[in-house]
């Protein structure tokens, strides 16, 4: 379970204070597929960064499985990112030099596991996301959709508490996007908590719950989880 209590993020620009996010309180339950919607500048990426421990709030509190993400050292935060969070980005952000399997195994490699142990795991996850034939390919040899699948595989290899996706199909055509969403959806159905940020209602509609942000704070919370027609 992820909990935000009055989380806020403020930047200073000279004397001005700019609030990217103010007083957001939100509880994300285990197994939820939460879509966070909002126009650009609404603070949705900031919110995702805070949940993912890429950034720390300037006010309020954030917990993942009751571990606080606020007021801890950079190293502790880094370890949370490494072990409890999986990221999927709009621009895939794969390391171009590494093969698919190496990219997928990177979080485990960072944790000090040897590649001979990591590789079978990475391969099995790549097969799971339908890339069993692409294990030794490098990103430049993959299509956009395939790269995003690799990114998803990388995000879930460490069995994270939550998978965070930031406009995961922003760079893909609609048919490929659908495949990515179906993949996310099926992961969600297997119990993976997912938080996805998007401005695209089509993407948001895959969530079991939709939260909309406006001007740095939540404006609508639509829970429709699992409701069939």
């Amino acid at each position: 379970m992820i909990e935000l209590r009055n989380a806020g993020k403020m930047y200073r620009q000279g004397a001005r204070e700019i609030y990217a996010l103010r007083d957001v309180s939100l509880v994300i339950k285990k197994g939820e597929f939460l879509s966070i919607m909002g126009p650009s500048g609404s603070g949705k990426s900031t919110l995702l960064n805070l949940i993912g421990g890429l950034d720390q709030p300037t006010s309020g509190e954030i917990f993942i499985d009751s571990t606080p993400l606020h007021g801890i050292s950079d190293n502790e935060l880094t370890l949370i990112r490494r072990r409890n969070v999986g990221f999927v980005f709009q621009f895939f952000n794969l390391l171009p030099l590494l093969t698919a399997a190496e990219n997928v195994g990177l979080p485990l490699l960072l944790d000090g596991e040897s590649f001979s142990l990591v590789k079978p795991k990475a391969e099995s996850i790549l097969r799971k996301v339908g890339l069993g034939e692409r294990i030794d390919h490098r990103p430049e040899q993959l299509s956009g959709g395939e790269m995003q699948r690799v990114a998803i595989a990388r995000a879930i290899i460490g069995n994270p508490a939550v998978l965070l996706a930031d406009e995961p199909t922003g760079n893909l055509d609609s048919h490929t996007s659908e495949e990515i969403f179906l993949l996310l959806k099926s992961l969600n159905e297997q119990g993976q908590t997912i938080v996805m940020v998007t401005h695209d209602p089509k993407a948001a509609a895959y969530g079991t719950r939709i939260v909309t942000l406006k001007d740095g704070t939540t404006s609508q919370d639509i829970s429709i989880g699992g409701e069939e027609s």
């Binding site: 126009p39 509609a205 069939e228 027609s229």
Partner: protein
């Protein structure tokens, strides 16, 4: 008027009696069109008069006779002609919401913005439902029928998306208009 072709299309696959026709209709396009039996039977009557459809009477025990409908050769010809003709007319904008927009409160943006918000939520919920159906559909090993259903769902999603986007635009423009021309000064 395309109910006519929908019925011809269903009958072109196989002969059906009225009840079966209705459930087949619901299954294929029910997401967008809901018809009652009356509408179906009146359309069938019209089609029989145009000699595009005929029926056989089927005698049953303890129950009234059932009519089994089937398509005539003229009917098939008409259907094929229709299928191969592209649409000339673009869908008309005849949403009730437009009427509300015309008559909105010109002194304050608040009511209409609230309305827009609620409308958006409704559309989102609609999309969410459609998406759930699509996901369920995708999980089955898809028949050709499932494909057409999926395509219809896609159409529904895109329409809803367009509506949401348009509503967002409405919101922005209304806000901007009220900010640059405060109603007080205009009056």
């Amino acid at each position: 008027m395309s109910i006519k072709f929908a019925i011809l299309g269903i009958l072109a696959e196989r002969d059906l009696h009225g009840y079966e026709l209705k459930s087949s209709f619901d299954e294929k396009v029910g997401e967008f069109w809901s018809l009652n039996y009356g509408q179906i039977y009146s359309t069938l009557d019209r089609l029989e008069k145009e000699e595009l459809v005929t029926h056989d009477r089927h005698v049953q025990d303890k129950r009234p006779d059932r009519k089994i409908f089937s398509i005539t050769p003229q009917g098939r010809e008409e259907l094929e002609k229709w299928l191969s003709t592209p649409l000339n007319k673009v869908r008309a904008l005849r949403d009730e919401f437009f009427v509300k927009l015309v008559f909105m409160d010109k002194s304050s943006p608040v009511p209409i913005l609230e309305l827009i918000e609620k409308q958006k939520v409704l559309y989102l919920k609609h999309m969410n439902r459609l998406t759930s159906r699509k996901v369920a559909l995708k999980k089955k090993s898809g028949s050709l029928d499932d494909l057409t259903t999926e395509l219809l769902i896609d159409a529904g999603l895109l329409h809803a998306e367009a509506a949401i986007k348009w509503l967002g635009l409405c919101e922005l423009k209304i806000r901007a208009a009220f900010e640059s021309n405060p109603p007080l000064r205009r009056i």
